[in-house]
Symmetry: C2
Subunit: 353 residues, 2 copies
DNA sequence: ACAACTTGTGCAAACGTTTGCAGCCCTTTG
DNA sequence: CAAAGGGCTGCAAACGTTTGCACAAGTTGT
């Protein structure tokens, strides 16, 4: 019996009640309900739920040009950091009757363009973008098209775009400060891609942090990964190791890369934190269960999603409002992966105090 | 200048080329292109990309009743197991021009119903459901409505529904078998919700596994959690502990609950695997980084998503086909959380061999 | 050369809403 | 009591497609 039951339309209800479809429409639309007599309205409502009426969103959207739909573009769904963000987004949007369409771009530009095209085709009312590069054509296009959108996690160099990000520079500084306080002098850095704001600004924070602590930058202790992945993190840590300069701590541009560092340390027979401290960034789920539990910078991912959704709704509602760039304060979480440097007697550290 | 550029329609192209809109439509639709002269078709195509035509999906869907959209319903986006699944789904669907709408239900029935309603309203062409209970009204409704859908991860007791799941019973057996081989006799079980197929069948697998190994079930070594969460896992482990019966291993219904067990062991001062072995289920991302690395049953989550998407497409394409219940073979991954039981001298183990 | 096809294109209806306008009736007011 | 006004409701057009049908022109067969 998989005969699709025929869809109930406004006309059906109208016929049932004995009024014109437009009247039914007015009743069912909250904004216009007051236009029609209570008596009739009640009968219409009754009939509508009696018959199990479901509005046809296509017809609605076709007529009104609003889809009650927003697009969410993320670089990698397997990165557990994005689950909470999407959940936050979905939470607030679904309460306002919006549905979220997700697209996974695997960090490839081509896919991003396709997705954003698709989104336009589907006439999404707004976009939430977690894939932005510091210089990003896609973002610029969106800006020109006038589509409301908000960036999350990653921002661009453009001013005047809506965004919800963590204050990466401060976060980077906090990490170095923490390590310096523990007594670390030689702090290596496994950087993320510099064309992403996260990669770039966290690195800037590291540099600033060194300066604040009165430490010198040693370029041999820095390696840049091409992606925010375990593999790249490990690779970067490996190149730093190959430079044969001593170091007692290594800060990674995000938690995934930190995990890569863990791996590299293990293969080199180094213990964390006894031989070298490691710190990550993001505080993605379950970092506290890692071995050792990862010291990292917490970003309230769920909040990022929720705030982004709220800002987006505001912009959809009144598009002419000035942009809202929300910068959340990061928060260092000290766990077991950082400790007092093993020995101050390492070669290369001349000045101790 | 955020003046939305006016949408190009079929009529615009028609005017530009000097033909009727319907002709343009036929040209732009692959199925009907052959109906029109090549010469005209070329001019239409040229004009179409010249003007930057984007079809209006609402109008299309309104006319054809196909939305090229599928709904995906998951219980908890912060559970890292679902990221890969959704990614798999998105990967294959977007290649066929479908977009995926996600909904997070937080395991609450009310939200599930709302979501599925929403999906119907939006006329999704199909559904992928990861929230099914063993007895599930929502699923039954979908069945009656005739909406193509496929269950993932969790199945129902109904026969004849499309699904992609892991063979939970076999998985459960593999775990016990592994532990028995190591010499464990007293194996505790932290069960998941029994109204979910995963919770139920994994437990059945455990029971069967005990039988296979010639071990007795001790009900004091079993506790059932109300949800697949760390907190519930810990709680369950705690009640088992409170029973004061000795055990050397504890198998949890999924990785999250296993993490809860880790916590409980730590607070009780027990070492894993030295004092008690722990095993999980799912092999969600990063389990190998846990402390200790978690022995678990691997389910190819990405594949689950991709297969589900493929099956769904088939059903959308030819709905009358018989249901396809795909059962993926699980795969035990032995890591550091399981080992030889600490001592055979524990009270209560009389028979050794 | 005429019928019978085939091929290509235009016409118009339909999908289910929303919404400006017109008109009705009923109330208010001078 | 007539005119004016206000509240409700119906009418019809419009949103941008798709598609069955009709029809014109060209092709084939006897």
């Amino acid at each position: 019996m998989q005969t699709h039951k025929p869809r109930i339309t406004l006309k059906d209800i109208a016929q049932n009640v004995g009024v014109h479809p437009s009247t039914v429409s007015r009743v069912l639309n909250p904004d216009t309900r007051k236009m029609v007599t209570k008596r009739i309205a009640d009968r219409v409502i009754h009939a509508s739920e009696q018959l199990g009426y479901r509005p046809n969103t296509f017809a609605q959207s076709l007529r009104t040009n609003r889809s009650y739909t927003v697009g969410v573009m993320v670089p990698d769904l397997t990165n557990p950091a994005f689950g909470p963000i999407i959940k936050g987004i979905d939470n607030v949007l679904e309460q306002s009757g919006y549905s979220v369409i997700v697209a996974n771009t695997d960090n490839v530009l081509e896919k991003e363009k396709r997705s954003v095209d698709k989104f336009h085709e589907r006439q999404v009312d707004g976009l939430i973008i977690a894939t932005a590069r510091r210089l990003d054509d896609v973002v610029i296009t969106c800006l020109e098209e006038g589509t409301p959108f908000v960036l999350v996690v990653r921002s661009t160099i453009e001013k005047g775009v809506n965004s919800v990000v963590s204050d990466e520079i401060v976060g980077g500084q906090m990490i170095v400060s923490h390590l310096a306080q523990l007594g670390h002098k030689k702090i290596a850095y496994v950087a993320g891609p510099q064309f992403l704001s996260t990669g770039f600004e966290r690195y800037q924070g590291y540099l600033q942090g060194l300066k604040n602590a009165g430490l010198e930058l040693d370029e041999d202790l820095v390696a840049i990964g091409d992606a925010f992945t375990e593999a790249e993190g490990r690779q970067a840590a490996s190149t730093i190791n190959a430079n044969k300069k001593p170091f007692t701590a290594i800060v990674a541009a995000n938690d995934l890369m930190a995990l890569g560092c863990y791996d590299e340390l293990i293969t080199k027979g180094l213990k964390c934190p006894d031989d070298v401290s490691v710190v990550g960034y993001d505080d993605m789920p379950f970092t506290r269960h890692f071995n050792p539990p990862l010291t990292t910078v917490h970003t309230p991912l769920l909040d990022v999603g929720m705030q982004a959704a709220r800002i987006l709704l505001e912009r959809i509602w009144k598009p002419e409002q000035p942009a809202h760039a929300l910068k959340l304060q990061p928060h260092l979480i000290v766990r077991g992966s950082t400790g007092i440097p093993s020995s101050f007697s390492e070669t290369g550290t001349k000045a101790t105090n």
